[in-house]
Symmetry: C2
Subunit: 126 residues, 2 copies
Amino acid sequence: MTKFDLKHILKTYQIILIWGDNLATIYEEHAKVFKAFCDEKRLRILELLRGGEKCACVLLEQLDLGQSGLSYHMKILVESGVVESCQEGKWTHYKISEKGSAYAGTLLKELTKPNTVIEKNNCCKK
Amino acid sequence: MTKFDLKHILKTYQIILIWGDNLATIYEEHAKVFKAFCDEKRLRILELLRGGEKCACVLLEQLDLGQSGLSYHMKILVESGVVESCQEGKWTHYKISEKGSAYAGTLLKELTKPNTVIEKNNCCKK
DNA sequence: GCTTCAAATCAAATTTTGTCAATATGATCT
DNA sequence: AGATCATATTGACAAAATTTGATTTGAAGC
């Protein structure tokens, strides 16, 4: 029977463990962060939240969205880390997470910054 | 016959003109920038390009993607501004655009930075 | 406990994205 | 010009994201 070195497998295939249950590549995880900024409605929501913390009912008033639609987008925003929510009795308040948006910014820089090791990959004899 | 003030309309509805032909909201335009980072394959491509300029054939070799698939994703990357392409005879070379990725970073900060005017929007008497 | 209200979840319909194979374009070479 | 190679475009299909309305959950008030 083959033995597995989980750590080695995860590293080799760039797979990470999330919530103990799900498997996802690091790419999926990174993509999730930027999903926040990839949809018109969500950008509009972020714009509203830039004006300060708001509860769902206020957002609902100002957006062309139904209740379940708002809930759907808020979930994506919260899962991206860019927005945080706090419950107050029946109400849920949302605000932009400083930490989360700083992370998104750092990640973006990371993802576009030249590698330390630049390979000379002159395939087609440029 | 009603007269229209185009400038006023564009400003009011936050619509912008692109390529002289198409109409799009500012939100769509912003979303386009971050589409670059919202897909596993594209993140993988960016990772390869962090190692320096590469031509399509090299990318093709290293990715689990067909030729038309690569072309599809490269188009989205180039349209986001994060990647730039240059033609060399039959070959197309791609690299990460410093300007484009700096813009993406600035935009991200912009989209998450608190507004100068913070409204007190205590709807549900928090 | 029952009612009410806010928000989340679900299921179905719709729209948007991504994939794949075939074809078209455009540059180079003979 | 005709052949060849690299990439782009197209159209059909599959998969994922979004929308909508109905239902459920969970907190508060009676």
